[in-house]
């Protein structure tokens, strides 16, 4: 049996259990108060990281509830990543089932997912996505430093008490190529259908629009649909969400 392994496991339990066990403190020898300094340092660093990744979620929950959620994550899951920034995502993944069921804060799940997505996209690696000017009869190239999430509350506008939307919206969270600033762009149901259709790498934008119309049960686009679609596409190009069309070989 490895003494070193025993000590390290006792140490991890002493730090992550909701309350340190006497047996683990005994295993570490010496002054308990000194070992509890380590417990405090380990936990406060992790708490601080999660709070900085989820500032609005933490504020909405309040200190006591947020800290209880973190304590539960630490005991039940423990940080499984060497990159401390990723504990934010681990916490959200762990706590989300409970947060999404909260009747008093129906937007809590959306808020936590949005903040987590921003945190992750902020750190995403830059990826090459060569593109030339957008040709509507060809596929689109979508910004690869982008993630989407479906929400039923505009938590980007109001994180305290946003009204429930009539239909789910799609949030695009992204950085522009070569940039570090984060952006959030929100699409309604039709906009989301168009965006998803344009994400297909082997279908032209025009065919994507036809597929969306078919999905909506319409033979032809109405003038209002065409106007809305043109506006969304122009916005997505201007925002560098749609980067263009793939270069011709």
């Amino acid at each position: 049996m490895s003494e070193l392994g025993d000590i390290q496991r006792a140490f991890a339990r002493m730090c992550f259990d909701r309350a340190p066990a006497d047996a683990d403190l005994d295993r570490l020898h010496g002054e308990r108060e000194r070992w509890l300094i380590y417990r405090s340092m380990v936990r406060s660093r992790l708490f601080a990281m999660m709070r900085s990744g989820l500032p609005k979620t933490a504020a909405l929950l309040g200190d006591e509830r947020f800290e209880a959620a973190v304590a539960d994550y630490l005991e039940a899951h423990t940080p499984r990543t060497r990159f401390i920034r990723e504990v934010v995502h681990e916490l959200v993944t762990h706590a989300l089932p409970e947060w999404e069921r909260d009747p008093a804060l129906p937007h809590l799940g959306d808020l936590a997912r949005w903040e987590d997505t921003k945190w992750r996209v902020g750190a995403m690696e830059e990826r090459e996505a060569p593109a030339e000017e957008l040709d509507f009869e060809r596929p689109a190239v979508i910004n690869p430093v982008l993630e989407t999430l479906e929400v039923t509350h505009r938590v980007d506008k109001d994180h305290l008490a946003p009204p429930t939307l009539d239909e789910p919206h799609l949030m695009l969270v992204y950085r522009k190529p070569g940039g570090s600033r984060l952006f959030t762009y929100v699409l309604n149901d039709v906009g989301a259908r168009l965006f998803r259709a344009w994400c297909a790498p082997d279908r032209s934008c025009a065919d994507g629009v036809r597929a969306v119309l078919e999905g909506l049960g319409r033979d032809k686009p109405t003038p209002r649909f065409l106007e809305g679609m043109a506006s969304v596409l122009a916005d997505l190009v201007a925002q560098r969400v749609v980067l263009g069309s793939p270069p011709r070989l």
Binding site: R9, G30, R34, Y38, T78, R80, F83, E126
Partner: protein, 291 residues
């Protein structure tokens, strides 16, 4: 022992997020090199990646890890070793350092630097981990002595410097000598820090750290890297550099980061000590040769 190929000299600062913008804008001459934590740059884009590129335009970068702590019983993740090697190649790292401690076990990461028992089993474990990393990255590995507040296996035979010498000898590796940590431990555990420094194999030292610390009401010192360097650490650094000769010295500041000008004042003070001590080292060597 793998040879150290590249020279890095003088006083450096850490490329820390809170400091980066002003540091990269002003690029002060006093700062001779920068230290980076690889975990902040591996598999990461955005602002951190941009700052890394900007820093490489002016400075040599020296990587200092936080998560391959070399006393863990758990073997390292092969994927991370590859990612680390790629980053070290990209920045032209002269060596890679990490801590003589543990920070993870069985896949759980504690994200802190946790003490090891001074035992033969620990020495053997560290040797295996150093071999593993050195093989993966193809450059020398340096271990850093840590501050510790309690000893997981007290009343054993080795003192801390004896244990450190055993590790260096067994692993045949370099030493990142954290002078502040020696000072902190000397106060917390009641020993004289100069004989500690004197008994180390100085030829293995590739880099040093100095930092400030926090003293609690009960006189226990916590290694926070959040205060200015104290006179006792300055004096111990001078004592150390007189024995090792020129080695790059990092001013660590990770919390309560002051305005850059205030840090540069500390850098200038360290530079004076560095120049005085290394000149003294050269005099002593010439004196030895003359005899």
């Amino acid at each position: 022992m793998l040879p150290v190929m590249n020279e890095v000299e003088g006083i450096g600062l850490g490329l820390r997020h809170d400091l980066a913008e002003e540091l990269l804008e002003r690029r002060p001459d006093e700062v001779r090199w920068l230290e980076i934590h690889p975990e902040n740059y591996v598999a990461r884009g955005g602002l951190f990646a941009q700052n890394l590129e900007r820093a490489m335009e002016t400075w040599r970068l020296v990587p200092h890890g936080l998560s391959l702590c070399l006393g863990t019983v758990t073997p390292f993740d092969p994927a991370y070793k590859k990612q680390l090697a790629a980053l070290l190649d990209r920045v032209g790292a002269p060596w890679y350092s990490d801590h003589l401690c543990f920070a993870d076990v069985d896949g759980s990461f504690l994200h802190d630097l946790l003490p090891l028992p001074f035992s033969k089993e620990t020495v053997q474990t560290v040797k295996e981990r150093v071999d593993e990393v050195q093989q993966a990255i193809g450059r020398p590995v340096a271990v850093e002595n840590i501050s510790f507040y309690a000893d997981p296996a007290p009343r054993r035979g080795w003192t801390e410097p004896e244990f450190l010498c055993e590790v260096l000898d067994a692993a045949d590796c370099k030493l990142l000598l954290d002078v502040n940590n020696v000072y902190v431990n000397s106060v917390n555990h009641g020993f004289d820090p100069e004989p500690y420094i004197d008994m180390l194999p100085h030829e293995r030292v590739v880099q040093m750290h100095v930092a400030g610390h926090f003293t609690r009401k009960d006189a226990l010192i916590i290694d926070t890297h959040g205060e200015p360097v104290c006179d006792g650490v300055y004096a111990l650094l001078e004592h150390t550099l007189e024995r090792t000769g020129p080695r790059p010295v990092l001013l660590e500041r990770d919390q309560n980061i002051p305005p850059l000008d205030e840090l540069l004042g500390e850098v200038r003070q360290l530079t004076e000590i560095y120049e005085r001590a290394t000149a003294r080292h050269a005099e002593l060597r010439h004196g030895d040769a003359a005899e």
